[in-house]
Each structure stands twice: as structure tokens, then as C-alpha cells.
């Protein structure tokens, strides 16, 4: 079945993706009818490799091309049966993770649907078929190695750690203390390894409070963890109480530690029934606790589902705004941003150090700490800085990418799936809208990250935690997404970027300033002509180039001009008047 791509065009575009030959092979190459929700049925030729589904229109009046990495597929269904009548009623219906559906009509005879269904199922859900995820087969080569972008020791050193109050510990080297945390942790200097072990017993999944970020001047910190295991009986743990107090004491001028519980109050209370809970004032005397009312993964999943309902395939028309409201998506974005702003404000004003947790400390907590760090630390607003931020707060601290995205898994209805990371990227986009000069990267950068969140072409977002990644030797056996991005940075650069050190960004999380990210959520709709490149950016780049060219030519003319003046015939009486003129331009 394997054969080289037949059409020149096709092979060209596959090569464009710079996937080396030999790492992919064509599994299916046949004519189908793509039922385009916008333009009706289109006859096309579909190629399925072990990485992607690629369809090119065979109709002259349509230049349609579909290019769908199999990792994006969340569900494949057969539609119509042997008895179904009507045109194009027999075929496949594919649901994608990136807010679109694909529908293909096939001929009933010759098992063509069965073949396509089976191939797609095998390669879209390799885990169910004991096949490797594509990232492990991908032999792409880039001239930079994205895996070297994040080095925890270097990153902590950049933050000025270790210092008198904070130490780097390797207690979790073999992931014995906490299997979902990274090997390297920053903890208070005065907390012994024994203390850490005791605290771990009192925190959900042993996710003890550890440092995420320290303010370079006032030395207040952002600490992350999971909920305390208080339970119905209101259990206490002396070490945990002492430990939080030690964190408070690392900063002597403040007498309170602020704890942000990302959950709504009721959820936190309800968690007591399953052994969780929150830090109560009576027990933690020197701490104040605030709830940030961010809902859980299930609420977010349903919210995004509603967003999809109103934007795909057709955009809800008659009541667009109230439909948008009914998804609550922007409201969730607002709550996440508001929470992050509060964290950032506490820390930057030096009011107090902040502890952030939710239930397990890998979803909402990651959103809050990473967004707050993005507001506080301009380093994270550069391309590499952002990569480090994602690598650190999300990947190394065990945001469960495998479960939340469901890489290679056929269980599309898994309750563990949730668009938490997408929500984070959406928040970043909202910030970049409000501060168009503060970020080195552009919208395309964010969309590229989201595309490869699902694609399984890179190892970056595979697995739930560092220990699993280490076991699978991900860094040795797969390519990093940052290799792709960093080897072609210009594409992802925001021309308006102006580096500002030490500027704290406070986005306005008011409804009037948040908007739906149309270029992402409605991008499949042909009416959203993504003006690529963005005309504003384009114009700016052109003007910059023009400016540089003028400067260059002025220099050249300057030379020629001076050369002219060297001519003996030029009036000797005036050079002193002429030359300063020429020079004062600059």
C-alpha cells in the first residue's frame, strides 16, 4: 500500500513541512468526496500517511486543501449504512480537537470505507493499537535543539536562586517524593528534607509548596502546591503549618502569607468530603486565604464545547452576543485573568508572598502562576522566555497533557480531557491584544503552539509528567516543538516588540476589553479571511525596511557627496559650511 506521493504538488507540500522522507509513508491514496460545510461537496484526492490526512480538491474551481495531522482527531464515526440512500450519505464523520469536523462521503462498494476507517483509527489512536505515537517516528532535523531551551538550574539562577532563603533540592531526583513534580525543586532554606517529606503526606498527590518565581527586588515569591488534605474531620499537620510560616518568614517585612485557592469556595468545601480542603484561618494564623472562583476542568470542557457549537460550522447569527455569553467562555477567561492579576499585584507591590493552589495544583494553578509570571517578568514575554515558561510551569510541573488532550487515545469522551492549556494561551492572546508591543511573539506563534499541542509531531506536549517523559526518553527519541520555532524565529516575531525590563503588565479583565479570539476559534470559517500577514504588521515591517534602506542610501550618498567635494573644482570657500550640514542629519 505504501507508495511515493504521486502528484508533484502533493510531494512538494509534504516536503514543505520538511518531514524527512522515510519517516512517513502513504497508507491510503484515493478519491473521496469531502463534504465541506461551507461550500458543499467537493471531490478530492485524499492521502493518509502515518502523520496526516491530506486532501486536495480535484475540482478546478476549488483550491481547497485539507491538511490534518492525525493527532488532531478525537473521534471517527461511520455514517450511513448499507441501506442508506441519498447522495453522500455514506462515509466517515471525523471530530477534531481543534474545533472542526470533517465529513467524507465514500462509495459503498469495495470496502473503501472500511479500509479508511481502520487505517485512520489505527494511526489516529496508536495507543489503542500498541503503536508508537508519531513523535517517536519523526526524524525531522532542525539546526537548533529545542530540548536545550529549558534548563531548570539556569532558569532559577536567572531568578537569583539559590539565595539565603531558598535552596535548590534534588530530593525528588527519582520522583520518590512526588511523582508528578520535576526532579529539581526550590524550597525554603530552613526546611529540611525530612520536613518536606512530612509536608508531602499532607498535600494532595504529595505536591508540596515549592517556589515558582521570586521577585528580584522585594523578594516576595509565588509558591505553588496542591490542596491540603484537611478532610471532613479538619485534620492538621504541624509541619505543613510550620512550612508555610517558613515561607512567609523568607520575607521578613511582611506578616501575612496570602493563599489563593483558585477554586470557588463551595468546590473547596466539597473537596473536604474526598479528603481535600483548604487552609483555614484558625489553623494557619499568619495566612489569609482567598478563593478565585475559577471552575474545574469539566466546566471548562463544556464551555468550549458550547463555543464550538456556536462557531462551527456556522456562526450563530441571530443572537450572536447572547449565544457567546451562554458559552461562558469569556467569563472563564476573565476569572483566570483576574486571578492572575491579583497574584501579580500582591507580589509586585511586595505586600506578601503568595501560595497558589487548586485541587491537585496542575490545572488552574499552572494557569495562575504562569500568567502572573508573564505579567511580572518581561523575560517570559520573549519567544525563548515564553518557551521556558511553558516548559517550566506546565510541562515540568506535571500539567497532565496526555490526559487533558488525550494524545493517541480513542476514548473521546474521557472526563479527564479539558482545554486548560488552550485557555491559558487564550489569556496570553488577550494580554497581547492589550499590550501589542510587550510580547516578542505574534499571534501565529500562539496558534502554532496550539496546533502542535494536538499534532503529536513533537514530543513537547506528550505525557503527564516529567517522570513519565524520562521513562520514555522523550528528549532523546522525539523532536521538540521549540526546535521548529527557534529555527525559524522570524516567522513568529511581533514587529512592534519593544523590550522593556521590569515593566509589570496589568491587563484589564473587564468585559469591554475581552473578546473572542476569532482568528483561532472561527478560523475554519472561510469568511474569516485571516489577513496573513497581518496588514498592520506588514506595513510596519515595510516601513522599517524602507527606513533602513533610506539610511543606507543616505550613507552611500554621503560617501559620493564627500567624494564630490574632494574634487578640486568645488569651491574651496565653503566646506566648513557644508559638512556640518551633512552631519547634523544624524
Amino acid at each position: 500500500m505504501a507508495s511515493a506521493p504521486t502528484s508533484k504538488y502533493n510531494s512538494h507540500s509534504l516536503e514543505n513541512e520538511s518531514i524527512k522522507r522515510g519517516t512517513f509513508f502513504i497508507l491510503i491514496d484515493k478519491e473521496v468526496i469531502y463534504i465541506c460545510p461551507f461550500n458543499g461537496p467537493i471531490k478530492g484526492r485524499v492521502y493518509i500517511t502515518n502523520y496526516r490526512l491530506y486532501l486536495r480538491s480535484l475540482e478546478t474551481d476549488s483550491a481547497l486543501i485539507l491538511d490534518v495531522p492525525l493527532g488532531v482527531i478525537s473521534r471517527i464515526e461511520k455514517m450511513g449504512g448499507a441501506t442508506s440512500r441519498g447522495e453522500n450519505s455514506y462515509g466517515l464523520d471525523i471530530t477534531c480537537k481543534d474545533l472542526r469536523n470533517l465529513r467524507f462521503a465514500l462509495k459503498q462498494e469495495g470496502h473503501s470505507r472500511r479500509d479508511m476507517f481502520e487505517i485512520l483509527t489505527r494511526y489516529a489512536f496508536p495507543l489503542a493499537h500498541s503503536l508508537p505515537i508519531f513523535a517517536f517516528l519523526n526524524e525531522e532535523k532542525f539546526n537548533v535543539d529545542g530540548w536545550t531551551v529549558y534548563n531548570p538550574v539556569e532558569e532559577y539562577r536567572r531568578q537569583g536562586l539559590p539565595n539565603h532563603h531558598w535552596r535548590i533540592t534534588f530530593i525528588n531526583k527519582c520522583y520518590k517524593l512526588c511523582d508528578t513534580y520535576p526532579a529539581l525543586l526550590v524550597v525554603p532554606y530552613r526546611a529540611s528534607d525530612e520536613d518536606l517529606r512530612r509536608v508531602a503526606t499532607f498535600r494532595s498527590r504529595n505536591r508540596i509548596p515549592v517556589l515558582s518565581w521570586i521577585h528580584p527586588e522585594n523578594k516576595t515569591v509565588i509558591v505553588r502546591c496542591s490542596q491540603p488534605l484537611v478532610g471532613m474531620s479538619g485534620k492538621r499537620n504541624k509541619e505543613d503549618e510550620r512550612y508555610l510560616d517558613v515561607i512567609r518568614e523568607t520575607n521578613r517585612q511582611v506578616n501575612k502569607l496570602t493563599i489563593y485557592d483558585a477554586r470557588p469556595n463551595v468546590n473547596a468545601v466539597a473537596n473536604k468530603a474526598t479528603g481535600g480542603g483548604y487552609e483555614s484561618d484558625d489553623v494557619y494564623h499568619n495566612a489569609e486565604l482567598f478563593f478565585l472562583d475559577i471552575h474545574n476542568i469539566h466546566v471548562m470542557r463544556e464551555s468550549l464545547k458550547k463555543v464550538k457549537d456556536i462557531v462551527y460550522p456556522n456562526v450563530e447569527e441571530s443572537h450572536w452576543l447572547s449565544s457567546l455569553e451562554s458559552t461562558h467562555w469569556l467569563e472563564h477567561i476573565k476569572l483566570v485573568l483576574t486571578g492572575a492579576i491579583q497574584v501579580a499585584d500582591r507580589v509586585s507591590s511586595g505586600k506578601s508572598s503568595v501560595v497558589v493552589h487548586c485541587s491537585d495544583g496542575w490545572d488552574r494553578t499552572a494557569q495562575l502562576t504562569s500568567l502572573a509570571m508573564l505579567m511580572l517578568d518581561s523575560f517570559y514575554r520573549s519567544i525563548e522566555g515564553f518557551e521556558i515558561l511553558v516548559q517550566k510551569e506546565w510541562i515540568s510541573f506535571g500539567h497532565k497533557f496526555a490526559s487533558r488532550i488525550g494524545h493517541g487515545d480513542k476514548n473521546h469522551a474521557d472526563a479527564d480531557r479539558s482545554p486548560i492549556f488552550l485557555q491559558f494561551i487564550d489569556c496570553v492572546w488577550q494580554m497581547s491584544k492589550q499590550f501589542p508591543t510587550a510580547f516578542e511573539f505574534n499571534e501565529r506563534f500562539l496558534i502554532t503552539i496550539l496546533d502542535h499541542l494536538y499534532s503529536c509531531r513533537f514530543g513537547t506536549f506528550l505525557y503527564n509528567c516529567e517522570s513519565a517523559r524520562e521513562k520514555q526518553k522523550v528528549t532523546e527519541r522525539t523532536v521538540s516543538l521549540w526546535s521548529l520555532i527557534n529555527s525559524n524565529k522570524d516567522k513568529f516575531k511581533n514587529p512592534f516588540y519593544t523590550k522593556e525590563i521590569n515593566r509589570v503588565l496589568y491587563p484589564v479583565a473587564s468585559m469591554r476589553h475581552l473578546e473572542l479570539w476569532v482568528n483561532y476559534y472561527i478560523r475554519w470559517n472561510p469568511r474569516i479571511k485571516q489577513q496573513q500577514p497581518n496588514p498592520v504588521e506588514q506595513r510596519y515591517i515595510e516601513l522599517l525596511a524602507l527606513r533602513d534602506e533610506y539610511i543606507k542610501r543616505l550613507d552611500e550618498l554621503q560617501l559620493a557627496n564627500s567624494a564630490k567635494l574632494s574634487d578640486p573644482s568645488a569651491s574651496p570657500s565653503s566646506p566648513s559650511q557644508m559638512m556640518p550640514h551633512v552631519q547634523t542629519h544624524f
Partner: protein, 598 residues
């Protein structure tokens, strides 16, 4: 305490101190339409309006020139009129036929005065069909009128002839669109009052179309509701989105846009002429005609063109500014944000076509502001006739001149005359896409101050654009100067070849080794060529002196140099619109330098 006069407008209370040297103005905004009704009961006469006392210290001539800036006769000429199909009609001289129309009107050549007058009698307020926009390329036109007095069955031969005349004035199409911008229900209700719409059976070769834009009362309430949402202190997601949706404002904006798009398509794609009307033909008709013209005609997307467009479709065709914006104490039910909606349509278009407009958001906001402010005379009165009777042009100043004077503030740095978006027709999807229509923060939230100033990408663009322009000017000046030097040199060379002896200069140091141009340029390259420091300047100077003395009689080397320069000057600056230099000091400098050289 200061003595002064208090002026009241629909949105502002203006306090002007009478102290002659200061005339300090204090503007207090009443950005809520309901609250001002109570406020300005005392204003009964036009004479009390601010514009009659506003004095920007311009002399009479300047004022008159200001009013001349926008000239509609010129505009019709620009459209290519009069021509074989259209002529200027004097039927409305002294406002004999229709007192809310201008005197200068274009009608089909085949429409006789008899037909026009007959048709006018069959039209509400005698607003007969007249030309609004003419498309040179395909002869299609947009005409406007009020509703016909058709009732349930009435007919009028002249009116039917009038429509035929319009259709025939466009040889490229065998039918005429008649667009009634009202919802069908409203139009039908009007029939009971002896008005109504054209019956397709009575008019041959017309295609009749309803486009449901709501009336001024619905729009007034809609704005009121939206402003209530804007005034919420910290709206929740639901408050805001539900409020915005329930206000219906964006839906109305979209309805106007859809009508404009429909007409623009009819004209540009089908090559058909369109007659537009609503009830009286001065609100929705003005909106729709101007939106369609804006989509069709790049000229209206320029600063000047936009002023012309408003002058033509709104001011001259009798949009009732005094009534709609409540400049005087009038019927509050006449107040409605009709032109606000048009300005918002333009803003929505700017959002979708960022490179297509020469002007920016600020321009729109300032126009809107002055429609309410009554500081200038443009938006006074309900018709041309009233304005003439009040001698507005002699007693007030023109906003257009004021805006034009400050045009630098209103330029869109993204605008490019050569851009594909800027040329020709703007193509928008006709299919509904509500999500493209956004809440206009800049207009309705402009008094809300954020925690810190928002960063504006446009500011960056403007800065770089200015820098580029400056460089371009410098470059031109330098090129020009080089050319002159070159000419001088050629002359000298001729002289010299006659003398066959290089001129000697005394008083300079004699040590030299930079005899050939090649050496020289190699030498200069080692200099940091863009250093502003004094030291470099000096050394450059010394170097020049060295070279001045180091006379080089080798003519061939000279000609090499010249050709090099010519190459450079051939590459003339491309693609830049050059605004007249603000920085002419430098140019003068270089001229002087050239003189000195010569």
C-alpha cells in the same frame, strides 16, 4: 470666579469665560441623551448656539475659503457629470419644487421639468428621485427619493416615467433596483396613510427590494439601551453581552451595512442602477447611500472625499440635523443617532479594511463630536434652504476647514493609495456574520480611563512613517544637491580642459596620499559613517580639506564617479506619499549649500 457664557448642546455644557484675553472654554460632557433634554429647554433660537459666537480668530477671507473647501459642483464634475445621460437641473431653483432638497441636482437628461414636477407631487415631501452617486465606469447610478404616495392603488404617470428615465440613463442594464430600506411591515403600514412603496406591476422593469432598517425611534431607544450598558460600573460578562445584544445596536448597524453592501454589489457587479428610499428619504436613505458610495468609491475613503460625502449625502440632501441632534428645543421624539450610525459603519469598515481609509478613528470621533457640539455651522439646520436663510456661511465657521488644517492628526498610517484594498470596490460578504461587528470601544468607552494608557500600534506606525518620510526628504535633497554639484563639475571640467591646468588651492596642508577616488572611498568607509559625535565631524571636515587640495586631474576617474551617482539617483524613492515637509529647514540648508558650491 469668572464671568462667562454658558452654552448648552446635546452632549455638552460649554462654559466660555468672557475675559477677552483668555476665552477659556470648559466642556462638560453629558454623554447621556436623556439627561440633556431637560437641560436645554431655554435654547429656542439658533442665534443662541455656540457657533454664532465661536471665533477662531480667522479673517473673513479665511472663513470663506474654509467654506469653499468642500465643493459639490466639483464633486459632480469628478464623477464625470454632466454627460450624455445626466444633466444639472434647475427645476429646484429657489427651492420651488422641494424645500428640503438642494438647488443643484442631477437628473436623467430625458426627465423633463414636467416629469420631475409630476413625480415630485407623487413623492412624500416632494422629494423626487435625484442622483446621489454615478459610476463612471459602467454608467450605473444610485438615486435617492422619498416614498411614493401610492396608498393602496394610486399611480402617477410622471413618476413611472421618472424611474424609466433613470433606468434608461444606464444603457448597461435593462432593469432598475428600487430599494425600500424600511421593514416591509412599516412600508405596508404607510400605505394606510396614503404613502407606501412602488408596485412592481405599475413600473416596468424594476426589481423591488425591502431591506429592513428600523426607524429613528427604534434607533434612539437602541442607543439609549447601549449607553446604559456602557455606564455600568463593572459589568459582568452577562450584563455586558446581554445588554449589548438586547440593545440591538450592532444588529441595526449590520442592517445598514447589509443595505449598503446590497447596493454596492448591484452597481459594481450587476451594473444596475438603484433607487433608494425610506419614508422621507433623509435618514435611512442617507445612511445607505453613503455606505454604498463609500464601498464603491475610493475617493470617499480619503480625508477630503469623506467630507464631500457627508456634505453631499447628508448636509445638502437635507438630513434634519437640528431635529435629529436636538440642537434646539424641539420634539424629543425627533432625536435619533442617524449619522452616528453611519460613522460607526465607517469604523466597522475600517476594522475590516485597515489599509483602505486615509483617515483614522479619531477623525470619525471628532466629526461626531462636532455634530453635537454646534461649534461649527456645518451641521446646523434641517436643510440647505434654512442654512441660506440664516446665512450660516457668513456667520459661522466650517468644520471641514478646521479638520483639514489639522489633518496630520487624522491620517491613517496604514493607508496606501496603491494598495489593492484601497483601489476599487471594497468587497464584503453579504452573508450575515454578526461576529464581525464589534462594540466601538473608542467611541462609547472613550471616557473610561484604564489603569494605564493602552499601547497603540498605530503610534508606532506613525512614528516610523514620519521617520521614513524625513529620511526620504533628506535623501531627495541630497540627491538633488549631488546632481547640481555634478553639473557644476561638468562645467568646470570643460573650463578646465580648456585651461588644461588644474586649479591650485593654497592654505591647506600639503601632505596627501589619497589621490584616487578609490583610495578615498576606502578611506571613508573606515569612518563610522553615522556617528553624530563632534570628533567625527571634525575629522570628516579635515578629510574633505585634504581632498579638496588633493586635486585629481584624472578625468576618467571622475566620470566613473559620476555614473555611480547617476545610478543612485535613478533609484528614485518609491511608494511613499510625501506630505509637504514640515522640516523645510533642512532643505533650505541644502539649497544654500548648493549655492555655495556653485
Amino acid at each position: 470666579a469668572a464671568l462667562g457664557t454658558l452654552y448648552l448642546t446635546a452632549t455638552h455644557v460649554i462654559f466660555v469665560e468672557t475675559a477677552p484675553d483668555t476665552r477659556k472654554e470648559t466642556w462638560v460632557c453629558l454623554f447621556s441623551m436623556s439627561s440633556c433634554h431637560i437641560m436645554f429647554v431655554s435654547l429656542m433660537k439658533y442665534e443662541e448656539l455656540y457657533c454664532f459666537s465661536f471665533n477662531p480668530k480667522l479673517d473673513r477671507e479665511e472663513r470663506e475659503q474654509g467654506w469653499m473647501l468642500v465643493n459639490l459642483s466639483e464633486e459632480y464634475k469628478r464623477m464625470g457629470l454632466p454627460n450624455d445621460y445626466w444633466q444639472l437641473s434647475d427645476v429646484n431653483r429657489e427651492y420651488r419644487v422641494c424645500d428640503s432638497y438642494p438647488t443643484e441636482l442631477y437628473v436623467p437628461k430625458s426627465a423633463t421639468a414636467h416629469i420631475i414636477v409630476g413625480s415630485s407631487k407623487f413623492r412624500s415631501r416632494r422629494r423626487f428621485p435625484a442622483l446621489s452617486y454615478y459610476c463612471k465606469d459602467n454608467h450605473a447610478s444610485i438615486c435617492r427619493s422619498s416614498q411614493p404616495l401610492s396608498g393602496f392603488s394610486a399611480r402617477c404617470l410622471e413618476d413611472e416615467q421618472m424611474l424609466q428615465a433613470i433606468r434608461k440613463a444606464n444603457p448597461g442594464s435593462d432593469f432598475l433596483y428600487v430599494v425600500d430600506t424600511r421593514p416591509k411591515l412599516n412600508a405596508m403600514a404607510n400605505r394606510a396613510a396614503g404613502k407606501g412603496y412602488e408596485n412592481e406591476d405599475n413600473y416596468s422593469n424594476i426589481k423591488f427590494q425591502f431591506i429592513g432598517i428600523e426607524n429613528i425611534h427604534v434607533m434612539r431607544n437602541s442607543l439609549q439601551k447601549m449607553l446604559e450598558v456602557c455606564e455600568l460600573k463593572s459589568p459582568s460578562m452577562s450584563d455586558f453581552l446581554w445588554g449589548l445584544e438586547n440593545s440591538g445596536w450592532l444588529r441595526h448597524i449590520k442592517a445598514i451595512m447589509d443595505a449598503g453592501i446590497f447596493i454596492a454589489k448591484a452597481v459594481s457587479e450587476e451594473g444596475a442602477s438603484v433607487l433608494v428610499h425610506c419614508s422621507d428619504g433623509w435618514d435611512r436613505t442617507a445612511q445607505v447611500c453613503s455606505v454604498a458610495s463609500l464601498l464603491l468609491e475610493p475617493h470617499y475613503r480619503t480625508l477630503k472625499g469623506f467630507m464631500v460625502l457627508i456634505e453631499k449625502d447628508w448636509i445638502s440632501f437635507g438630513h434634519k440635523f437640528t431635529h435629529r441632534y436636538g440642537n434646539l428645543d424641539g420634539d424629543p421624539r425627533e432625536i435619533s443617532p442617524v449619522i452616528d450610525q453611519f460613522l460607526e459603519c465607517v469604523w466597522q469598515l475600517m476594522e475590516q479594511f485597515p489599509c483602505a481609509f486615509e483617515f483614522n478613528e479619531r477623525f470619525l470621533i471628532h466629526i461626531q463630536h462636532h455634530i453635537y457640539s454646534c461649534q461649527f455651522g456645518n451641521f446646523l439646520c434641517n436643510s440647505q434652504k434654512e442654512r441660506q436663510e440664516l446665512k450660516i456661511q457668513e456667520r459661522t465657521y466650517s468644520l471641514w476647514a478646521h479638520l483639514w488644517k489639522n489633518r496630520v492628526d487624522y491620517l491613517n498610517p496604514l493607508f496606501r493609495a496603491d494598495h489593492s484594498q484601497t483601489r476599487g470596490v471594497l468587497h464584503l460578504p453579504t452573508a450575515p456574520c454578526n461576529f464581525m461587528y464589534k462594540f466601538w470601544n473608542g467611541m462609547y468607552n472613550r471616557f473610561e480611563k484604564g489603569l494605564q494608557p493602552r499601547q497603540s500600534v498605530t503610534d508606532y506606525l506613525v512614528a516610523v512613517k514620519e521617520e521614513t518620510q524625513q529620511l526620504e526628504e533628506e535623501l531627495e535633497a541630497l540627491e538633488e544637491r549631488l546632481e547640481k554639484i555634478q553639473k557644476v563639475q561638468l562645467n568646470r571640467t570643460k573650463v578646465r580642459s580648456k585651461q588644461s591646468e588644474p586649479s591650485k588651492h593654497s592654505g591647506f596642508s600639503t601632505s596627501d596620499n589619497t589621490n584616487t577616488p578609490q583610495d578615498y572611498s576606502g578611506n571613508v568607509k573606515s569612518f563610522p559613517s553615522r556617528s553624530p559625535s563632534q570628533g567625527d565631524e571634525d575629522s570628516a571636515l579635515i578629510l574633505t580639506q585634504d581632498n579638496l587640495k588633493s586635486s585629481d586631474p584624472d578625468l576618467s576617474a571622475n566620470s566613473d564617479q559620476e555614473s555611480g551617482v547617476e545610478d543612485l539617483s535613478c533609484r528614485s524613492p518609491s511608494g511613499g506619499e510625501c506630505v509637504p515637509s514640515e522640516d523645510s529647514g533642512k532643505d533650505r540648508d541644502s539649497d544654500e549649500a548648493v549655492f555655495l558650491t556653485a
